[in-house]
Symmetry: C2
Subunit: 471 residues, 2 copies
């Protein structure tokens, strides 16, 4: 029995007085979009409940009214998962924030979904622990969104994705049921591990309200090297040597192709820590226990791989500011928007051995279609994750669909994934069949239908609720 | 349109000629039970397909006939998940075994579900890698069963459960659809992470056919210490110090309560590496990179915690045979069946800080109900996992239901889990509500109904397909 929107708004206003409900002109501009560069959309209302029970009540009222809902966190998503939908109610978690508990004996932290990642990182640090999840938007992204998108970042090779950091989860189902599973134990095989459904499903199956995070010991020292290599084979061999020789200390292995390096050092103007030019650049980082022991160990490992002929050159950090300087080269991609102008950005995944062949193929196909195409390649290759920035320098308005279809068709040919870490949202949804089989897509739709038969939670994102076979 | 069983058997015999089908007296005794000590059950037939497509065909034929199926691996499960069901067809993966690929660059191994864990460990070792999953049944358990039960083991504190080792998965749905997602990348956020549904759901949602496993670098050295401590507070503090001081090298932290120690050293007769008696015993293991560097580091860490007063005594390994000798004390529990006679064994989980209070409460309640009750406690406490062995020494036939209801009621009071690693299967199913909320159970049932609406796959295990609301 769908309600008219005025009646729903009246119900919401009575259930959520004061700052919890924003409607009409009260909706601030920042709630009209996420970071996907899709056109602004003004939703019916923005609800900002500040308890799990209030989130459940909000969902129940919308579900009863038959009105669509979009969960919102820090609105830093790049694929459109949190982008508003016309006529829908946004359910923002921003007012349900804060850290509820730090349990040093269990190495866990219980947080509310609206807590910014940086607040969580700092609280762990002050308690003598470490939260390895880290990404550029750390100051504005909220942990609920990190969980909803299964955020990655630079240290996945050592610590895994967000999924690996979640021990317990509380969430609201599309019918308004609050399900609390705030487990603190590393091991719990009592029935299905339900939380896995809500991690990385981009708010299409439920709305995360609280989580128990696994904290790690604080690293005692950090060492890094920026290396120049002569071939992709050497890159693959260096990764293998790093895994063997540095073991669990290896915390980042970032590869930059020469086209990336050229744009960063020439167009962006970042100073290169290396003098010569190389076929590949690798930023390698370790987190050790004591500088006294692990510093010399890192040095002697670097010497060993240098003597084995894997490196043409290497700059080795002598201080944390050197480490930062090396990361500046990798982080310079944040300047691409101002220096290169509008462009298309991709976040794909491939088996490690195919990455260079992929880059070659993708570059050629883009140039074949658009002679002035520029594409640059860089990424966390130890995790199988490659980032691509591409644009047609001959035109002002970027032909996004054209570029995407070339990039994603190449991903399909190389049997990769169209999204390693950013998710599918709206932007990549047309390309999901490039990377998932018909059987996988049908199973996703079956799960969506089981949890959200009316298709009211974040509809149109990731996968649609199938129609026709429903009661 | 359910078929009569004779017609189904005829169809199966024509589709699966030769050794793939065992029926009637051809079914060997070992297929009539798993390791849960439930009474033998003779199934309708044992099907042993040897390709993923044949598994799919087997499931399709049984589903069409409306006959229940039970997936079987090495039959080493302790909770009854693989125990036969009267009138059902067992689908055993034992003939689909072997390693399909080792990819050193991606650090992955692609395996068939019927491959024994030990074969996988050895193949990784020969290729210069390490598969951290390890458990007593390594020689007979099959990787498909390890995945189906999300097996744990001793090194979860460092490497995680089986779930964390699975990058890609192929499985057959209850309707016979083969879904292949043999991903090799650490990062893949392209839609729902479907494989999570099939890991740890004990063959109630699908049958695993192949998997891509993540391999780790081979540890360069192993050090261990067996420590005597004066209080549980010291145990908790030692764990915190070990996490901080040994970081990612910490590969095991096993705690033994004094009643366990007494049974092992006096009843089983294992020689104690320590001379005196202590309130708690901790077996601590690290896996380092080089003995030359990490051996002295381990020694100096032990000295530091000893000087800080956390340890009353410690034996430190000088060789791998010492490491083995320390593990012998922990592994002596395998002798309990012969030395203590029939008993009940539990595998529960609790937050680290509540474990000792739990052990006290559980011990008292058992003795209150049965004055001759013996219960001993030991486990992987860094993972929140406690094992309990309990029996009433006054009787021959153990009152399993009575003991279980006391143990599990205590788990409920301490907000723990009734299964940390062994799963739910049949044995623990009545107690699942002690540890999961009504909302969680309803959601599990909803998932089960979505994937197996007819309730034909491993029916009666873990959670039932709800009736009444189905078409």
């Amino acid at each position: 029995m769908p309600l008219d929107t005025d009646s729903l708004l009246a119900r919401l206003a009575s259930a959520f007085p004061g700052p919890a409900l924003l409607a009409g002109d009260d909706i601030p501009a920042r709630n009209l979009h996420d970071t996907s560069f899709l056109a602004n959309v003004t939703p019916l209302a923005v609800l900002r409940p500040d308890t799990p029970e209030a989130v459940a009540e909000a969902v129940r009222l919308c579900a009863e009214a038959g009105v669509a809902m979009v969960p919102q966190g820090g609105l830093t998503g790049l694929a459109g998962g949190g982008h508003p939908i016309d006529g829908a109610v946004m359910i923002s978690l921003e007012r349900f924030n804060g850290i509820e508990e730090i349990d040093p004996a269990s190495s866990t932290m219980t947080v509310r979904a609206g807590t910014p990642l940086e607040v969580i990182q700092k609280a762990a640090d002050e308690a003598g622990f470490f939260i390895p999840l880290d990404l550029g938007a750390r100051g504005s992204c909220l942990i609920g969104g990190n969980i909803g998108t299964n955020a990655g970042g630079n240290r996945v090779i050592r610590y895994g994705m967000t999924r690996e950091m979640i021990l317990g989860l509380e969430y609201v189902l599309p019918d308004g049921t609050l399900v609390s599973g705030l487990n603190k134990m590393l091991k719990n095989n009592a029935g299905y591990d339900l939380k896995q459904l809500f991690i990385g499903s981009e708010g299409t199956l439920g709305i995360v309200t609280r989580a128990v995070l696994r904290m790690h010991p604080k690293p005692g020292c950090v060492n890094a090297a920026l290396c120049g290599l002569g071939s992709y084979d050497d890159v693959v061999n260096l990764l293998a040597e790093a895994r063997r020789g540095l073991g669990p200390m290896l915390s980042a292995f970032e590869v930059m192709w020469p086209d990336y390096w050229q744009v960063v050092t020439e167009t962006v103007g970042t100073r290169s820590p290396l003098e010569g030019k190389h076929a590949f650049y690798v930023l390698l980082e370790t987190q050790g226990l004591d500088e006294e022991i692990d510093g010399p160990r890192f040095m002697s490992w670097i010497e060993r791989v240098y003597e084995a002929g894997l490196l043409e050159d290497a700059a080795i950090s002598q201080s944390l500011s050197d480490v930062q300087r090396f990361w500046d080269v990798r982080d310079a991609c944040a300047e691409f928007m101002t220096r290169l102008g509008p462009h298309c950005a991709y976040d794909i995944g491939l088996p490690v051995t195919s990455m260079d062949a992929f880059a070659d193929a993708c570059r050629s196909r883009l140039v074949e279609a658009m002679p002035e195409a520029l594409s640059v390649y860089y990424g966390h290759i130890g995790d199988g994750n490659l980032h691509i920035v591409a644009l047609d320098r001959a035109v002002k308005e970027q032909p996004m669909d054209r570029i995407s279809s070339i990039v994603y068709a190449t991903v399909r040919d190389f049997r990769g994934t169209i999204s390693a870490e950013h998710g599918i949202g709206l932007l990549k949804k047309p390309y999901l069949p490039y990377t998932r089989s018909a059987e996988e897509l049908a199973l996703m739709a079956r799960i969506k239908a089981a949890l959200d038969p009316a298709g009211l939670l974040n509809p149109g994102k990731v996968i649609d609720t199938p129609t026709g076979d429903l009661k």
